[in-house]
Subunit: 432 residues, 2 copies
């Protein structure tokens, strides 16, 4: 089948899936769970083929680790499916209801977005997570995984579609694409595909964003800041900076640039330097920073760089406004934290820093769907519309307006002496 | 100034505007109201220049009517500003709050999107409406009106920016672009502009959508359907079809294609034909329709055409599924209505028709921000993300996550014996 035909049939399946009962969807999730458990050997065998080929091709150790899909990983994704079953039904929730007139009632009701295109790199667990999230939220899905994981992905996609379709999920709701050329074609199919979710490196996400007119849910970079204000508790600031930078350096919510108020810099930076030295963090400082501590010079490029490594750039700023300006100029709209005892300063920072997540007195590493308690994480978004920051299931949902009348026509409301709208808020679930 | 500089300074203004107090914004709206009232003559004089030039260039009557901006139109937009002042403050509303742990509280708080680009055709009232909506919601705006209205728009933009900046709204929040070339350049500035709202003809909106990677809020076409089911009340169906088609033919929520269940067609169509004949509506019917009433033949093209005129295409369908399939194939995802007494049939129609507005037993013409009681209408959206159907002020808003801690770091939660998240829902407004 051509990609266009696959996408078209996914769209048909998405329509039927949008009307599928909660029970059936949960039974299907149960059935996927059992099928994954019952086919462990088949999955692990397929994964071994991928792993062997990847080793022969000298894939890096971290990539091999991501590619590995063993018994532990199967348990983890199965636990995820169990939690998903327990989540309340996301489709058909009445968000808002209003009487427009007697026997003319308006309801704003959640529904699936339609067809989601997901592109991810070498982790096969992403295939299971995202396809089961799509199923629970009633969306059809086109998946393209990294070519290193092709054998594992094929087996997983087959298990998931067969076991779910067996209990009544519309055929064609899940489709695995296999080549890069398929992805290129998918990016043009805005008639059939409603949302693209790319998971992977920044470079990869940037490529996707600039090559499609389909809306993209994701983030290209995480250039996160901590601003240590003049009124900061210095010990607290130290803990927060070290955690934000070092707790896990390779992730998008890790600290990349530290901003320090000029009045506290000479007190704060020397102690910070010893802490960071102990952890082998390279410091690249602005000219003023270099006068206080011994470090490499930061260039203009450093302010716009996501290191994802044991490197920290530091800039001393004159005041809060300069800190905000720096973040809004060089940041990526991801996560930025202020350390201060002054609540007025904090409020201004949180209002004017134009980022998805703005924190007071805590580590940037908290910006994450699991830590936020969202139930399931679809991704992290630096978009300015639809969803922002860690995105739970609501990122895969939209709403429709349902208006229930009894023969009303607009002409009766358009004459000067015509009927008047009552526009009374109801507090009523949609039902017919 | 280059468009890029204008957009960049709009972005700076948008940051300051996002933190501007409700009182100041309402004072600015009041100040705009007074300035419009106090400069009536200046506005009308400028409009006369536009009108004279347009008459000389033989602009069509409906376009001249739209272009005219007289005392009545000034009153209307001023009434709009008064209602806007009365609306509750949309920015800084807590949508959701959660305790992640003791003294670690998460808030999801509404905020402006940032910089909105609005492109509209000949109606100068659109300039006033959309710029005041942007102001109330804290967004900066780049406006481009039709060249026919250039003199009027220049005067209006000057009045609005001067009178608002006088009371403390950041300079540069409102900018008028003057040439088509400016628009082309604006469509490339996804670094500075967060959302484009095009108002105007379908062709125009289609052009915008396919020439920018900035998200677009709008609708390219309104191919709306009424489906008269076998279980319909025939008199009700008649009223609804006539109103949906004839109440105002030139608008996006007017009926374009009527679908009729085969079992009711021979009873329904002859009477409908006399009603439509009286109103000079041309009927284009499918083969089965042509066997029941005398009408022109409909071609495949008719099913995908938005007439915006006294023309109706009619197709007889075998059942509900065929009706749903027709709408999801040829419709534009705008508004579709079913007429039936059968609630199960209605529920299926409303679930499976993939449109922004799905109606039971009422006219398609109800899908409109004013009739929905949204307070203010930003536009109508057929997007599948962010907003759908008639869009009120929430279309100009997004949220940010504010996390308030007391020194917490992620490392303390990552150890096996570490702290546990409480994830307790709060019911608390954000405040520091």
């Amino acid at each position: 089948m051509s990609i266009q035909n696959i996408a078209n049939s996914a769209r048909s399946a998405s329509i039927r899936l949008s009307g599928t009962e909660s029970d059936i969807k949960n039974q299907a999730l149960q059935s996927i769970y059992k099928a994954l458990q019952g086919n462990k050997e088949k999955i692990i065998t397929a994964n071994k083929i991928d792993l062997e080929r990847a080793e022969n091709e000298n894939l890096s150790k971290p990539l091999l680790k991501r590619l590995k899909f063993d018994e532990d990983k199967i348990s983890t994704v199965c636990n995820g499916i169990e939690s998903l079953i327990k989540l309340p039904e996301p489709v058909g929730k009445t968000l808002y209801s209003k009487e427009l007139d007697k026997e003319l009632e308006l309801y704003k009701v959640t529904c699936p977005i339609g067809v989601i295109g997901v592109i991810f790199e070498s982790r096969p667990d992403a295939l299971v997570q995202i396809s089961t999230l799509c199923l629970k939220s009633g969306n059809a899905v086109l998946l393209k995984g990294g070519k290193e994981a092709l054998e594992t992905n094929k087996v997983l996609a087959e298990i998931i579609s067969k076991s779910s379709e067996k209990v009544g999920i519309p055929q064609g709701w899940l489709n695995l694409l296999e080549t890069r050329d398929d992805v290129r074609k998918m990016l043009d199919l805005n008639e059939y595909i409603d949302l693209i979710i790319p998971r992977g490196s920044n470079q990869f996400v940037k490529y996707i964003i600039s090559n499609t007119s389909i809306p993209v849910l994701g983030h290209a970079a995480g250039i996160c800041h901590v601003y240590v204000d003049a009124d900061a508790d210095i010990e607290m600031a130290m803990k927060i900076v070290v955690d934000s930078k070092c707790q896990y350096v390779a992730v998008c919510n890790a600290l990349e640039t530290l901003l320090v108020h000029k009045d506290i810099a000479s007190k704060f930076l020397p102690n910070l330097k010893s802490e960071l030295d102990r952890r082998n963090v390279e410091i690249r400082g602005c000219e003023r920073t270099q006068k206080i501590i011994n470090c490499n010079p930061a260039t203009e490029d450093d302010w716009g760089t996501e290191y994802l490594d044991y490197i920290l750039s530091i800039r001393i700023v004159d005041d809060l406004d300069k800190a905000i300006e720096h973040i809004n100029t060089y940041g990526s709209g991801h996560t930025d934290s202020i350390v201060t005892r002054n609540r007025t300063t904090a409020a201004k920072f949180m209002d004017l820093v134009d980022s998805a997540d703005v924190f007071l007195n805590c580590s940037t590493r908290f910006s994450d769907g699991y830590r936020y308690g969202l139930g399931a994480e679809v991704g992290i978004s630096t978009n300015k519309i639809h969803t922002r920051g860690p995105v739970g299931m609501e990122g895969l949902l939209i709403y429709k307006w349902k208006l229930v009348g009894n023969g009303q026509i607009v002409n009766d409301y358009s004459r000067p002496d015509g009927r008047k709208f009552t526009h009374k808020l109801l507090n009523k679930e949609f039902s017919l």
